[in-house]
Amino acid sequence: MIRDDTQPDDELQQRLSALGREDPLSATFTDRVLAELGERELVRRPRGGRTATRWWAMAAAAAGLFAAGIGLGSTMSATRRSPQPTQPSSSVEVNVPHVGQSEVWF
């Protein structure tokens, strides 16, 4: 009997049908694909945990510097505004003329 090779015989068809249609993915495959899609800017990369932690650390450091700056500024301002106690002069008093006065006397 001559076989008709244009049609799959039952045995061959059965064996071909039994072949798996899917292969398991390796552990890193999906991440590798997504990384390349991200590099090519075909997808947006979500901010990863490490990146978020770094961002928060930078924000905290900036806030700390800001607070320190405010504290220093306040201290300097208070220092400038506080009246300096005048040392009593033991010998000579100098009178500075007020507005409208033209004389200086001792």
Binding site: V33, E36, R40
Partner: protein, 191 residues
């Protein structure tokens, strides 16, 4: 906005595709890759004669090409079929850079193609026998008899005439039958 929420694993392909096209959603792209890559890997691995490492590289490139061209996906065929065509084309490019898909001349008679020189157990493994087929007819057999493509679809995908596809399929089946017959005969004489 889609990019701000976790997609459901049961989300339909068209929803995920829209999220990737509109928002470049990484999460949606991940769902598509995880959902369709197992099948793409199986097809490409067979086309590449069971070279798993090369198959992964090819499927990765197919995803890059596919996502880049996603706006042109019209839904005429299923997304799975659309991606399979892209993956097959990338696999063909890979083969052309290597030994070549059409390295075996089409007019070589099936009887002239040597049977794989493996031990009996290996030859009984149909996957290995398919991998031993000349790459041209192997591609047609994988796409037609395993993936269910028509000869017209194979012609478009592989860039060959439908008649050539039929001839290659004839050749592939004939070789497989011959090898399987040899296997059976050797099995019968085994102690």
């Amino acid at each position: 906005m889609y990019g701000d929420r976790q997609p459901d694993v049961t989300e339909a392909d068209d929803v995920l595709i829209d999220a990737v096209v509109t928002h470049r959603s990484e999460r949606a792209a991940r769902q598509l890759v995880e959902r369709h890559s197992p099948r793409l890997l199986a097809v490409v691995r067979r086309l590449l004669a069971n070279d798993v490492s090369a198959a992964e590289d090819v499927v990765q490139q197919a995803w890059v090409n596919g996502i880049a061209a996603l706006r042109s996906f019209r839904g005429d065929a299923s997304f799975s079929t659309w991606m399979t065509r892209i993956a097959v084309r990338v696999a063909l490019d890979h083969l052309r850079r290597g030994p070549g898909l059409h390295d075996a001349t089409p007019d070589v008679l099936a009887a002239e193609w040597p049977a794989p020189s493996h031990d009996l157990d290996e030859r009984l493994d149909l996957e290995r026998l398919i991998a031993q087929l000349p790459s041209g007819c192997r591609g047609v057999l994988v796409l037609h008899d395993i993936e269910g493509f028509t000869h017209e679809e194979i012609g478009v995908t592989l860039g060959i005439a439908a008649g050539t596809s039929k001839a290659q399929l004839f050749r592939a089946r004939r070789l497989l039958r011959r090898w399987l017959t040899i296997d059976t005969k050797e099995k019968e004489v085994m102690p």
